[in-house]
């Protein structure tokens, strides 16, 4: 399909393990975002990539969280030494452009992470 693709759709992991979440944005979208939604909460901004600019990491909750993006394509969000409070749905979104005007975000279906 032509939408944002995230994998895996569900991930159950033991406390203390590392996890890696993947996002394939819409082709041609230069901006990529990671958000998370904890149970009963709103969408919490984590990190934003735009082209070759330095990413905005201001939303990452701790140094256990990191994200990479290869050019204007795939991004991976890595959580090291997972804790139970990391349990959430992790949502990736992409948008056509940023810096020359606003455009809406297109979201994937998310990865539901459960830390036991």
């Amino acid at each position: 399909g032509a939408g944002v693709s995230q994998s895996p759709s569900n991930k159950v992991t033991e406390k203390g393990k590392d996890v890696e979440l993947r996002c394939d944005p819409i082709s041609g979208h230069t901006a990529l975002y990671w958000y998370r939604q904890r149970l009963g909460q709103g969408l919490e901004f984590l990190i934003y990539f735009q082209g070759n600019s330095a990413p905005d990491k201001s939303g990452l909750p701790s140094d256990r969280f990191s994200a990479e993006r290869t050019g204007e394509s795939v991004s991976t969000l890595t959580i090291q030494r997972t804790q139970q409070e990391d349990s959430a749905v992790y949502l990736c979104a992409s948008s056509l452009q940023a810096g020359q005007g606003q455009s809406p975000l297109h979201f994937g279906n998310g990865t539901r992470l459960t830390v036991t």
Partner: protein, 114 residues
């Protein structure tokens, strides 16, 4: 500090009637606002947006109103349909701030009763 607030966690409306979802913000630098709809187990879907240079934007059954002086926006759905039952999020961003970080509210769950 919650910069975007949706103070009503839920709303029930009869089919055919108007649904009004509200959103308040605190950052006067916000200049672009969006509404998203989210079904369970799916990502949010973009509905409608409005720039701060406008006070109203309409798309079919959906209209967004922006009151900059009150730092308030609302989404009107008329007529409401059972398929509109979902969680609705408002979001805001600020172009002048140089970052395109969209700040989301906590959502309002709309239930349209048949």
């Amino acid at each position: 500090d919650q910069q975007v607030k949706q103070n009503s966690p839920s709303l029930s409306v009869q089919e055919g009637r108007i649904s009004i979802l509200n959103c308040d913000y605190t950052n006067s630098m916000f200049d672009y606002f969006l509404w998203y709809k989210k079904y369970p187990a799916e990502g949010p879907t973009f509905l409608i947006s409005i720039s701060s240079i406008k006070d109203k934007n309409e798309d079919g059954r959906f209209t967004v109103f922006l009151n900059k002086s009150a730092k308030h926006l609302s989404l009107h759905i008329v007529p409401s349909q059972p398929g509109d039952s979902a969680v609705y999020f408002c979001a805001a961003s600020s172009l002048p701030s140089g970052t395109y970080k969209y700040i989301f509210g906590t959502g309002t769950r709309l239930k349209v009763l048949a």
